[in-house]
Symmetry: C2
């Protein structure tokens, strides 16, 4: 029996401090993992947002999905376009807001990143019970909703 533990507010403080550290460590972990593919964590995330969308979307929509700045996503997508990983298609509904699409080369890079990621993610998740991971995810998702509402 671990005892009563900390008060909720202190527990949240410790959670937050760990969150900051894990965030940085995870980004560095991802960077090392996809560096051989010419990717970074940020580029990988952008590719993921493009894949996750059923239909090609303009950059501003991808930025919203990512919770990131429009301008930064624009820069990343432009870089990816310069390297042939994504291409721009005309948008019938908007002359300036082109649609971002994966090229075959971009699809290959994304699939290669996933292939490198999966076994490492399984190793990293090993040792945790399904309940523990699910609870941690649910807490973070609930925090996200509250913070987003608070930031209105």
């Amino acid at each position: 029996m671990p005892g009563p533990g900390l008060p909720p507010a202190d527990e949240l403080t410790e959670l937050t401090l760990s969150l900051f550290r894990v965030n940085n460590l995870m980004l560095a972990w991802g960077d090392r993992m996809v560096a051989p593919l010419g990717l970074t964590s940020a580029r990988w995330q952008a590719l993921g947002a493009i894949v996750a969308a059923e239909r090609p979307q303009p950059v501003a929509w991808l930025a919203r999905d990512l919770g990131a700045n429009r301008q930064n996503v624009q820069r990343i997508v432009n870089d990816l376009e310069g390297e042939g990983l994504v291409s721009f298609a005309p948008n019938p509904h908007h002359k300036r807001a082109q649609l971002v699409m994966l090229t075959p080369k971009g699809r290959e890079a994304y699939d290669a990143a996933i292939a490198r990621y999966r076994p490492r993610a399984e190793a990293l998740a090993a040792g945790f019970s399904a309940d523990e991971l699910a609870t941690a995810r649910q807490v973070l998702q609930a925090l996200r909703l509250r913070l987003e509402a608070d930031a209105d």
Copy 2:
């Protein structure tokens, strides 16, 4: 009964994506909270590291405690020193590595930040059970240990 849920690796993926979002939201939340005090999340964290250390430490030690870059912490601490929130004291063991100490003004700023933080943290933690928060914290701390070991 929520059912079997996702495979552990996918659960970790969702956890990670939520983590990135919450990290950014929490930093913005903290920035808004301590802005009236002339602080930022980064400055507040630096002050916290100074307070958390029992003895005054050089900047490089604080950076290690924070898991941050030596150079960035140095810049932040220099800024804090310029505004009179911290002061440098001679280090008997090292002529160049001065010891960072809170000034009374810095202590006031830190206490004021905590005073603003506590009720908001309690409100943010409300609705979670102690077990949920503790589990989330433990998962993140375990992830941190694994990622730090992996980054060696």
